[in-house]
């Protein structure tokens, strides 16, 4: 029995070590100079998911590189997909005295707004969302803007006349993205078919791959989709000759260099820097920030390997539309519950 308990303990220890190594990186404490700002990031998936979580991770890293490690400390917790798991980490970081706690997911809205009043000196941030609090920044992304541009590309590049969307969950900025995408397609080729379907999960990559295969079997030759599940769909698309993919959240062309034509890239750096600047001025929250083409927090990037295959007049038309979106002459409509 003693051996039994010892083995249990050893197993438990092994588990804790294994999970701990994966779950937390860079969490450090100790005394630090007062000029140093400490940011904690709570992620629903992993820093290398090639999508939503990685986009924010890389932005934080870029800001850290710019400010220097002596001035910006970063702690990261990954794989906290649900508000309950995320909430525990958010509270812990606040208790440990982090200056800014970023909960990177729309699912954290409620839990952040609940925890924030307990730590009035801490800045909390979450996104995508728009309801700010006294010490809570909400950051949002006008995903429909790039969605519209990519939709135009889809409409103009599809030979079959069928375009497919591999959606994760019909919520938050994925709805805005899909909404914009469909309008973009309709603006260049009104009669074209856009098939929308959801996997029901943000991170089921295998499910997204299966859905992409069904979309292609149903005739789609240009596909798109958002969140970390999309990487599975991109791999599935890469295996069918002639099928193209349009990315969002990150430049995902490395995943499938001969399939991903263009990407809408989220550049969270500016949002993060704005939070830091505001905090330095004594503003701990209360603002709803938005990533858009107007301020350069959204970017349209072509895959250099495929850009040659996009006709010049198509690129010109997309670029002209991008400018119109950026200067406000073209407003992309949103579903009623999303429009504010």
């Amino acid at each position: 029995m003693a051996a039994n308990r010892k083995l249990h303990n050893a197993l438990a220890l092994l588990l804790i070590v294994a999970l701990g190594l994966v779950g937390c990186r860079g969490a450090g404490g100790g005394a630090e100079p007062s000029s140093k700002i400490r940011i904690a990031l709570v992620l629903p998936s992993t820093v290398d998911d090639m999508a939503w979580s990685q986009s924010m991770y890389e932005a934080l890293k870029a800001v850290q590189k710019e400010m220097g490690e002596n001035h910006l400390e970063i702690a990261i917790s990954e794989r906290l997909g649900t508000p309950v798991e995320g909430g525990a980490a958010i509270r812990q970081y606040a208790e440990q005295g982090y200056d800014i706690v970023i909960a990177h997911g729309a699912q954290f809205q409620q839990v952040v707004l609940e925890i924030a009043p307990d730590f009035p000196k801490t800045t909390f941030a979450y996104g995508a969302g728009f309801e700010a609090g006294d010490n809570v920044f909400a950051y949002d992304v006008e995903a429909q803007e790039g969605g519209y541009l990519l939709g135009m590309l889809a409409g103009l590049l599809s030979k079959a006349g069928v375009v497919g969307i591999v959606g994760p969950v019909e919520a938050g900025h994925t709805v805005k993205y899909n909404w914009g995408f469909r309008q973009g397609v309709a603006s260049v080729r009104p009669g074209i078919k856009v098939n929308v379907a959801y996997t029901g999960s943000f991170n089921d990559v295998v499910g997204a791959g299966d859905l992409a295969k069904v979309q292609m079997d149903a005739g789609a030759d240009v596909l798109t989709g958002s969140s970390q599940q999309a990487v599975g769909a991109i791999r599935a698309a890469a295996e069918r000759p002639g099928v193209l993919w349009l990315s969002t959240e990150m430049d995902q062309s490395r995943l499938a260099p001969k399939t991903v034509v263009a990407s809408q890239v989220y550049r969270w750096e500016k949002i993060v820097k704005r939070m830091i600047d505001l905090r330095k001025q004594g503003v701990v929250g209360g603002e709803h920030m938005t990533a858009s083409f107007a301020d350069g927090t959204l970017e349209l990037r072509y895959n250099p390997e495929l850009v040659g295959k996009v006709p010049q007049q198509v690129k010109d038309l997309v670029e002209e539309t991008r400018r119109k979106i950026a200067d406000g002459t073209l407003k992309i409509e949103l579903p009623r519950e999303q429009g504010r």
């Binding site: 092994l14 992993t46 998911d49 794989r79 098939n195 379907a197 295998v206 791959g209 990487v231």
Partner: protein
Amino acid sequence: MEELLRQGVVVGIVATGVRLAAPFLFAALGEMFSQRSGVYNLGVEGIMMLGAFSGFLVTWTTGSALLGTIFSVAIGVLMGLLMALVSVTLRAEQGISGIGMYLLGWGLSGLLFRRYVGFITGVKGFASWHVPVVSDVPVLGPVLFQHNWMVYAALLLVPVSAFVLYQTTWGLKVKAVGMTPEAADSLGVNVNVIRYQCVVLGSALAGLAGAALTLGQANMYADNITAGRGFIAVALVYFARWNPWGVLAGSLLFSTVSAFQLWVQVLGIRFPYEFVVILPYVMTIAALAMVSRRVWAPAALGKPFRRGAY
């Protein structure tokens, strides 16, 4: 709605269903052997994840998906030995040790992925192999004979499992150990050896199920790639009343309903997608609730065996 009833679409749904069933078949048939011998292994999900990862890693480094698959099975065997050590030799509470295996598998696969791969990338998995002649038969061809070998192997494993369980001496011993271990012991059957064999076999098949995901379906690896499929496989064993043909029926039902809901959405049939997405799960629960009226289970399921305890 008419669109859904077109022959091409129906064939597409059933063919997709058969393809998606492979990982469930491997994992659930393995778990069935484990449970038949009296050990339920909730760690299938974690073992699948490790199997999926190791198969991917070896394929990514060597370029050979076959070698990757062999590694997936080998990792499954190792995990099975660990599970058997904890639950058979040390007689730990099986539910808890299974959850431990799950967390260990998830944690380790994530850790090793970051250490040895570090970014999401694809691999060349198994291509589909059209069986000569029969694959050209209308309807039946695309449904059954245009898959990769993993799907054929998974389907063939059903009659093989039935034969092993019902027609061989070893199968008889497995059933005896799971029903009345004391009686089996008194007849000279080494209860714990049989249980070791079954747990290891089950885990090896769970590892293979993982390879079916990374090398037969997705051709890539990402964190948490199984996304709950291992737990579905455990539920399917109950659904199947510990019978290989039941496992086949359950796996096909679940995966065909999954395929059906994908097509319903893609064809733009107006219906709240959330309801469609949960359909396979609802069907499984409903079927489970209906069959559980006639309760039958290996009598010694979950009970560690101690010689001379009576």
